[in-house]
Amino acid sequence: MLIMTSARYTIMKISKAMVLVSSLFLCMLVFASEVSDLMIEEFQAEAERPFSEQAGMETWYASQPDGRSCTSCHGESLLVRGSHQRTGKIIEPMAPSINPERLTERRHINKWFLRNCKWTYGRECTVQEKGDILLWLSQQ
């Protein structure tokens, strides 16, 4: 037998508010990690071949004739910190499993592709390369 007292009414209202806030928060959490998924989807629409983690990993580790590669700054493992090859500035781990902030901001991802592909390859990465790398990184 439910008698609605003012106390119960308040509790009901607060509970509903908490449920609403929690679900909004959960949505944010889910959405944050989907930034890279969304970008992979968008890249795939423009790319020639389906993306492959294997190709992404190989591109990441490949050394250029002048010795430059992604590992020059990020180090040999995505799970630990790297350091800038020239300034020594610490670079936080790339693996999203270790560093949840990775791959959550579109602008960030695009900026570092621009800067780092140009430094490593002397040109921008192709959509194929970006997709392969992004797919591989998102699984680490």
Binding site: H84, R86, T87, G88, K89, I90, R107, K111, L114, K118
Partner: protein, 179 residues
């Protein structure tokens, strides 16, 4: 008022006064800043320009030098520091607004000394900088180390991120081992 109440009032008042003097005076001495003066660089600037090296205070270079840097982001001292147009525009404006200017009040106005008509892009090449680091330069000359030794300000100026470069806040030591 009873004698006892009077005594309590006096000791309480003295304690409060002492506390004010201690924290008030101590505050000024410890931080060495003018009251209300806090170094607060733009967050986006620090994010964009402080990812690979210390985010140098805008007041360290004159406007023309910053302009030169922003125009050459693709070859930023042999690195690529490009960013999207919107961000570059925002940062350019910020740098221009806060650049080293004659007549402006800044804790780093010594960097204006003997500034040439065509100022360098590197902070370490400013005559004012070299003058401020004269003894260090003499020391390094013997060790044959390039000016890049001075690029990471924060290696010796441990509170550089707070805009504090006082001699009293120096720490000797350089390189990865000192981090």
């Amino acid at each position: 008022m009873s004698e006892q109440a009077g005594k309590i009032q006096t000791s309480l008042g003295s304690t409060i006064l002492a506390a004010i003097l201690f924290f008030g005076v101590g505050g000024v001495v410890i931080y060495g800043l003018e009251e209300g003066e806090v170094y607060q660089p733009d967050e986006l600037y620090v994010d964009e320009c402080g990812a690979c090296h210390y985010a140098y205070p805008p007041g360290f270079l004159p406007a023309s030098s910053w302009q030169g840097i922003m125009l050459g982001l693709e070859d930023h001292f042999d690195e690529n520091a490009e960013t999207d147009e919107e961000t570059a525009s925002y940062i350019s404006e910020y740098l221009q607004a806060n650049a080293l200017t004659a007549g402006g009040s800044s804790p780093w106005s010594m960097l204006l000394r003997n500034l040439p008509d065509n100022p360098p892009l590197r902070i370490t090449e400013l005559p004012g900088f070299r003058q401020a680091h004269e003894s260090e330069l003499e020391l390094l000359d013997g060790l044959d180390m390039g000016m890049e030794f001075f690029s990471p300000c924060e290696d010796c100026h441990r509170q550089a991120d707070q805009g504090l470069f006082d001699k009293g806040l120096l720490r000797a030591g350089y390189g990865p081992a000192a981090r």
